[in-house]
Symmetry: C2
Subunit: 337 residues, 2 copies
Amino acid sequence: MQRVTIADVARRAGVSTATVSRALSGGRKVSDEVSERVHRVARELGYAVNPIARALRVSRTDTVGMVVPSIRNPFFTALVESVEHALGAEGKELLLCDAQSDPRVEASRLEALVTRNVDGIIVSPCHGTDSAPAVQRTADRLPLVQLDRFVGGTSTDWVGVDDLAAMRAVLDHVHAGGARSAAYLGARLTNSSSELRHTGFHRRAEELGLTVDPQWIQLGEYSVDWGERAVATLLEQGELPDALVCADDLIALGATRACRMHGVPVPERTQITGFDNIEFTRLAEPPLTTVAQPTDRIAAEAVRLLGDAANGTDTPRDAAHVALVPKLVVRSSTRGN
Amino acid sequence: MQRVTIADVARRAGVSTATVSRALSGGRKVSDEVSERVHRVARELGYAVNPIARALRVSRTDTVGMVVPSIRNPFFTALVESVEHALGAEGKELLLCDAQSDPRVEASRLEALVTRNVDGIIVSPCHGTDSAPAVQRTADRLPLVQLDRFVGGTSTDWVGVDDLAAMRAVLDHVHAGGARSAAYLGARLTNSSSELRHTGFHRRAEELGLTVDPQWIQLGEYSVDWGERAVATLLEQGELPDALVCADDLIALGATRACRMHGVPVPERTQITGFDNIEFTRLAEPPLTTVAQPTDRIAAEAVRLLGDAANGTDTPRDAAHVALVPKLVVRSSTRGN
DNA sequence: ATGAAAGCGCTAACAC
DNA sequence: GTGTTAGCGCTTTCAT
C-alpha cells in the first residue's frame, strides 16, 4: 500500500512541500487561496500526515504512556478509561502498560515508554519505596505525573484524592450511624494511599472517641480474599466492633461476604464501608457504602499537568500536588444519616 | 536531555554507524571482536535505539493497536490484560482505544491507528453490521484480527470461543440439574456472539425437548440493569421457567439480584447461568455457574495470527477462524452434576 | 567484514 | 508568502 506523502500533494498543488506543511499544520503564513488549494488536493489524494516522520522531526509523539499496578483492579480500569477519554479529547493516544504489581516489571515498562519518546507518563506506582528509583529516574527525563498513589522521596506532580478527608467522612458517617468502635481492614503500608487511609482512620477514630482494639487493625492486601480472611480472624478473636472500615472496595466486598456466611447481619450488627466506588459495590448484598473517587476529574487534571509540563518553560516549576475531595456514597451497608 | 545516538557510539568505538547498526540489531555480518567492542561502548554510553527513527526507516513500529467496545466491561478488561501480556512477551507495545460502544468512535480510532503505522490491529467490533465498513477498510490496509465478536460480510482473521458449543454445555448442564423449561436473557442481535449464543440456545433447547415460551426470550443489552429488568418482566408474565440462561455475566448478575429481591430461591426455584466468567461471578449470591473464556489463549492466538500476517508472503492467505473450546465453570447457581 | 551515502517523510531555518 | 535546503536517527544498498 503506497502512502500519499506530502511531496505528492505538493506536486499536484503546484507548490513546495514546505507550503503544504505550513498550510496543513503550521502557522498562518500561507495565502488563503493556496491554503485552500492544498487542502482540497490533500483531501482528494487522501493524504494523512505520517506521525512517525513528524515525531522524528519535532520529537513529539502525541502519545502518553500509562502504567498501572494491575488493570484487573476495577478502580484502575476506571482510571484508564477516564485517562483514555481525556487524552482522546486532545487528539492524543494512550500507550497502556500493566506492571503486574511488580516494581521490576514497572521499571522496565517505564524505561520502554521513555525509549519510545512518549510525551509524558502517567503512573500509579505499585510500591511506595521499591518503585521510587524508577519513577524518579523517569521523571528526570520526561513530564510525569503520579496518580492516586505516590512514591516517597520524589518530587513529581501528583493527583489523587484527599485520603485523610475521605477517612474523616467515613468515620463521621458510621459514628452518626451509632458506631462506637471500629476495625480497620487495610493493606500493608507499602504505598501512600495505604498509609494515609490508615493514618486518617486512626486520627479521626481518636477524635471521635471510638474504641479501636489493636487486634482490629488488619493489614493485608487489596483483594476480596483478604477481606474475607480478615473478618474470619476478627471473629475468632471475639466480638466484632460496630464498624468495619475497609481500605478499598475489594476488601469490603470480601468482608461483606464473610459476614453473610457467618450470619452477621449488616448493617444491624456491624457497618461496613469501602473505598473507590467500583461498579460492583452496587451489587453487593447489602450494597456498599463507599468513597467515590472522581476518576474523570483526576484524569483531566493529570492530562492538564502533563500538558503544562510539556509546554512550560524549562525552568522546573514546583511539583503540583492536586488532592481532590472525594464523595461519600451512602448505601445500605451502613446506618448513618 | 541529549540522547545518545548511533553516531556517538560509532565515534567512540571507532567504526561506522552502519557497523554499529549491524552489530546491535542487524544480521551476523560483523566480526566478533568489533561486535563486542560496539556492545560495550553502547552500554557505557547508555545507548538505546530510537524507535521513531527506526520506524520511519523500516516502517514497522512494534506496536499493536487494540480497540474494544468498552473497557468498563470486565470481560474486555481481562482480554486487554491478556493481550498486553502476550505482546509484552514479544517486546511489543499496546496502543489501547475505547470505542465507547459507538461504531463512529470505533471507526475514528481505527483510522487513527492506521495513520500511526501500528503493525497490526486487534478489534472486538461493537456492532455486527455498523462496524463492518470501518473494519473491512482497516483490514484492507493492515493485518487485523477480530476478537470475540466479528462483523458480517468481512474476511479477516478471527479468534474467539465456540459459542454454540458453549450453549450446548450450558443447556446440558441445567437439563441434568432437572430443568425442563428455560428462558434466554440476552442482548439484541447486533453482533455475532449475541446471535450465536441465541441460536445455540434455541438449537440445544429443542434437541433436549426443553419448553421455551416465546415470552421467555428477552433481548436487551449486556448490563446488570437489563438483567434485573428482564427478570421483572418475566415475573409479571407469570411463572418463571426452571432455568434462566443469560448471554453474559452482567445480565446473569442482574438476574440473580432480581431473584433475590423478589424472593425467588436460586437454584431451587430456578437455575441461573452466565457467560464469560468475570471475576465477580464468584462473589454473587449464590456464586454463578458460567462459561469461562480462555482469554490468555485467545490473546495468544490473536498475537500469533498478527505476526503471521505481518511476516507472511504478500499472497493473501485465507482468513483463519480460530474457535476455542470454552469451559463450563459450575458454581451454586445451578443444580447440574 | 566494513564504510560511504542515500533516504524514510516531515518541519524549521533561512533566503528571497 | 513561498521555495530551498538541512537534517531528525536509523537501516540498507552498494562499493570496497
